[in-house]
Symmetry: D3
Subunit: 140 residues, 6 copies
């Protein structure tokens, strides 16, 4: 190939299941019902979340890889499996004790957790698919 | 067409989101943990459920339909929207106060609710897709 | 393997795009509007149809195949490509000059067209996916 | 979280069905047939279109949302449901009386219709999936 | 629920990647090329296979399950992971030393391997999706 | 429409099946096993690859198209069908005689092959989906 160092973007996908309830401590009960509708029902609901994490960088001339997808999978599994998968986000996950677990906030929290575990500058995008009709993308 | 009355199977798909916790009152806490694993965690988790309801019968010579899919959609929406969607199955849905909300039991409960609303013999199958890896089919 | 002749079901999938309008000559304009709703709008709408054709039979001991999927693909392409794909079903396809092109009737018409081209008893099911929420299955 | 105002991209997906015919008034009949092939057949064909609309902005500290997805859904439904869904784009939709309803032009027209209904700067991308093999993205 | 023992069908999905080459020792080189086309190219090609295994039986009144999906997943993983996943079916898998690894034969071989590991009568269907356009189902 | 020349991105999707083995001539056998794991098994495995090629440019005022998708399909088919589809990438494709056929390198090689066939500046992105969990994007 003609270029000595070619940049690529690689993505790993992982699914998890969690319960959540949209509720903001900064809003009154009435405002919470109006803003969040049935997502504010008191006992919560849940989703099969799909997480797509993208890292970007030059393709290594020896391995042909930007980053080993097995290592990326391990980092993602570490972050998700023990603390988030099959949990109630509002009740079981410290980050959401005070933060409303909207798709936007979940994506931003996952970005922070993943960024700490990866070489600086490697993380490019965290995409969270909440339902087949709703997605969020966070790029730092 | 050569045949006066041709039988066909028509399916309508609908998605909903709910929280649940697998837990059987007939098992000890230790047995519940062993049998249901992380699905038994105390505060529950959730899914985007996909429901596929199939009805079967002859194709009507006037309309060209087995059953009006708009009517089937309305029956399914009635059953799901008010009582199940965005609810916590264990806490909010009467049928699961005592019945463990496994995919099998949810499918069977939905069969009962739908069958009451449809002409006898019309309902053919209730398929519930709990995750991209787990499906259940109930055929009465 | 232990069994001399094992039966299997093989399916080939193909997509096509067509316009149609649901309208029954046996119903009044008012009834057509009531029964078919927006599917009865005068200038038609359209779909990306997905067709899944299943044939069934013993696995041939020499080839390891029930039927050559390349041959099945050719038969399906013949039936679909020249007469149905990118056509207006009501205006361009003879079978639907008098027959309402509901998913049920399209599936039954495709069954007839495919059955003539295949060895007797081979065709098992014609499944037509009209939208991600509506499917029809016809089994003869 | 460490950052006071974090930008995110949220997407809402919606499907609709429409008929269309590719035909340019600026080309001769022969050129139309050569350029558009079977998409130029006189009576039109159709698609199940999938529309993905992305809005971008800071995550609101009170609600945890960039924009209420229910409001985005309502705007999208307003634009699509009354004027485009189940219509013949060439015959029924004013924007396509003179404009060829290619996926590119449909995406650009939908951008214009949506942009008028949203706060300036909020709309980020309109993606239109015409078939499982053809997509268009328009970003203003 | 009214019925003491209700039968349901539960399915677990798993994906694996393998290389294969279609070639029958009972056919001449010319016949192999004619029957299998590019699937007979000498150095093989490969697929992401999706395996869907269905078991059927009564819903257990204590657990609410037909069979523990975690146990089904473990059996499937055992059968697939060590002997089939990321292998060359023709060269690495004993069953295909003499048997042509068509989708039909792979499904039948997996049925045999799975049936040995499950309670008699439990296994209901093995579905193998070879590409988005080709599927095989084997039911014993 | 208000703007004389509007830029859009159009994407064409195509699938192919190939075998490959991850192995770097610059690494020892032990390092190859450690870095590539089961992807380094000696006889290779395979995938159903999905290729999504995006071209970008102004929407032509006469045709309403950025680029004719039929022409893009033909270029993609030319590049893929004769040299890559149903091949063993390591053994049959010249570009991978010395280059490790990782998803990153396949995407970059396809970029080079496609770029030569398209007007300068038209090619925008080559996305290669190796499995439902692994994707790579290359943007030149």
């Amino acid at each position: 190939m003609k270029k000595p160092s070619r940049k690529a973007f690689i993505t790993r996908r992982l699914t998890f299941s969690a319960a959540h309830r949209l509720h903001s401590a900064k809003l009154s009960p009435e405002e919470n019902r109006r803003v969040f509708g049935k997502c504010n029902l008191p006992n919560g609901h849940g989703h099969n979340y799909t997480l797509e994490v993208t890292v970007a960088g030059p393709i290594d001339a020896t391995t042909g890889m930007v980053f080993n997808l097995t290592d990326l999978k391990d980092v993602m599994t570490d972050v998700i499996e023990h603390d988030i998968d099959h949990k109630n986000l509002n009740m079981d996950v410290p980050a959401f004790k005070t933060l409303n677990p909207t798709a936007e906030n979940i994506a931003a929290v996952l970005w922070d957790l993943l960024e700490k575990r990866l070489k600086p500058g490697l993380l490019n995008e965290v995409k969270l698919i909440e339902t087949e009709n709703n997605f969020v993308s966070y790029r730092g």
